[in-house]
């Protein structure tokens, strides 16, 4: 061992380790962008990852059907009951729709979200290995106009934010992550505001948390939470999720709620990135 420590071989290996540490430090200074080595490996492995992920998802789906047959049967029964309920609501909805169409004649409706600049639809290449908060990779990057801290959405609602952008691959941090905080407003009672922030316990069930809500709130289970848009990181009034349960937080000074996201982030196949919108803060990186 002593001979080894005095040998040239040891010095060369020490130099090599120092070189690797140098790469690591350089990666830290890139501020959200991948280093060119990572970018190259991403580009090289992208087609293989897409193909193998496709196969794996199909195998998982097949195994899932076999192992969870009882759950699916139970879920099927529940869904049948739910369909009956929804059919009743549909009848009410039709009458309301007719009424609404009448009202629309008198209201000038501005096209929703016309200020958004959207990316091309992005395919989900795969999920980050063993990430409890379901971060995933999309097949668009810097070359497609995506920068770090762009909101990622589907038509149903907000998914997360881009965090690590390569030339043609980006990593998306989902709203299940405790590292992402979003100012949220209740659509039914706009005075009720709070912060949506992931939580380890909630993320196990695919939910996120609404925290710092005033004790004098009018939140109800089923209320839709939308983005507040105050940070400049997310556009205003985009759906996030519905309130699942309400209670006091651990300090007892404010109210917290479990939020079921509008989008199931665990099984995504494609998303869209909002590259620009009215009120976007350019140095929004500090806000999340």
């Amino acid at each position: 061992m002593r001979d080894f420590l005095k040998s040239t071989r040891f010095k060369v290996l020490l130099g090599f380790l120092a070189f690797l540490v140098g790469i690591m430090i350089y990666a830290v200074t890139k501020g959200g962008y991948s280093v060119s080595g990572a970018s190259f490996i991403h580009s090289l492995t992208k087609p293989f990852r897409t193909a193998s992920n496709g196969i794996s998802m199909r195998v998982e789906l097949a195994l899932d059907k076999l192992t969870n047959a009882n759950d699916y049967y139970k879920e099927n029964q529940e869904l049948k009951a739910q369909i009956g309920e929804l059919n009743k609501q549909l009848a009410d909805y039709d009458s309301m729709k007719t009424e609404l169409q009448e009202l629309r004649k008198f209201v000038v409706i501005k096209e929703q979200h016309e200020d958004f600049i959207l990316s091309q639809p992005c395919g989900v290449i795969g999920y980050v290995t063993n990430d409890p908060f379901k971060s995933f990779l999309i097949d668009k990057g810097e070359d497609d106009g995506i920068t770090p801290n762009c909101p990622v959405v589907t038509p149903e609602g907000l998914v997360g934010i881009t965090v690590n952008v390569s030339a043609n691959v980006s990593t998306v941090r989902t709203l299940l992550s405790p590292d992402l905080s979003i100012a949220a407003v209740c659509s039914a009672s706009p005075a009720d505001t709070g912060i949506i922030e992931g939580d380890i316990l909630s993320s196990e069930d695919g939910n996120t948390r609404l925290i710092h809500v005033s004790t004098e709130n009018k939140l109800r289970v089923g209320d839709l939470m939308v983005t507040g848009g105050t940070s400049g990181l997310f556009p205003k009034d985009y759906p996030i999720g519905t309130v699942k349960s309400i209670g006091l937080d651990t300090s007892g000074l404010s109210v917290a709620a479990d939020i079921k996201p509008c989008v199931d982030v665990t099984r995504l196949t494609s998303v869209i990135v909002i590259t620009d919108f009215t009120g976007k803060k350019e140095d929004g990186a500090d806000e999340n």
Partner: protein, 187 residues
């Protein structure tokens, strides 16, 4: 050492090249398994790097360790270079241990893989979760870190078999002179 004929030399180069191509094919397959699907998966690149380090020289082991580390960084979305430093270090240590103290046996490989993999998982938990003081962070350790470690140790058997097979078929054998062979027999 016996003088090799040009044909033997060519065969040696061919076998060595093919061996390294197959090592990296195994590593690439491990990477693809790691990045596919949504379930918890073993960090297969740790046992792969160590299996290569057991029977090869230190420089090659260090480079392979670094390569596997970079691939882990990409698949697990960690700081680029973090796992490269860690695995390069583990591989150098593994080669050194097998050169000086240990025999290239399966039990020794499993022991080193279990320890290295645990350290890798533990440090990952420490730096990416525990240090940030998330509420209920210990659940990540129990539900993710420990399970991934167990999966990794279990899966290392398959990785070992693959690398063992490559070594058995393509690892160059020592050529001894008749005098050396007699000396060994006499001992």
């Amino acid at each position: 050492m016996r003088i090799k004929t040009p044909r033997e030399k060519r065969l040696l180069y061919f076998k060595t090249t093919l061996r390294w191509v197959l090592y990296y094919a195994v590593i690439f397959i491990c990477f693809l398994i790691m990045v596919s699907g949504t379930w918890l998966k073993p960090i297969l690149l740790v046992p792969a790097a160590i299996a290569v380090a057991v029977n090869n020289n230190m420089y090659a082991s260090a480079v392979t360790g670094a390569m596997c580390g970079f691939l882990i960084d990409i698949s697990c979305d960690k700081l680029f270079g973090y796992n490269a430093v860690l695995l390069a270090f583990f591989c150098i240590l593994t080669t050194l241990l097998f050169e000086l103290y240990l025999r290239p046996r399966f039990a020794n490989y499993m022991l080193i893989t279990a320890v290295a993999s645990y350290i890798q998982c533990r440090l990952d938990y420490k730096f990416y979760y525990q240090i940030w003081n998330y509420a209920n962070v210990e659940r990540i350790f129990v539900k993710y870190t420990l399970r991934v470690w167990v999966y990794t140790v279990a899966a290392s058997l398959l990785v070992y078999l693959a690398v063992w097979l490559i070594n058995k078929l393509l690892m160059p054998k020592e050529h001894l002179t008749i005098e050396e062979a007699i000396r060994i027999i006499e001992k």
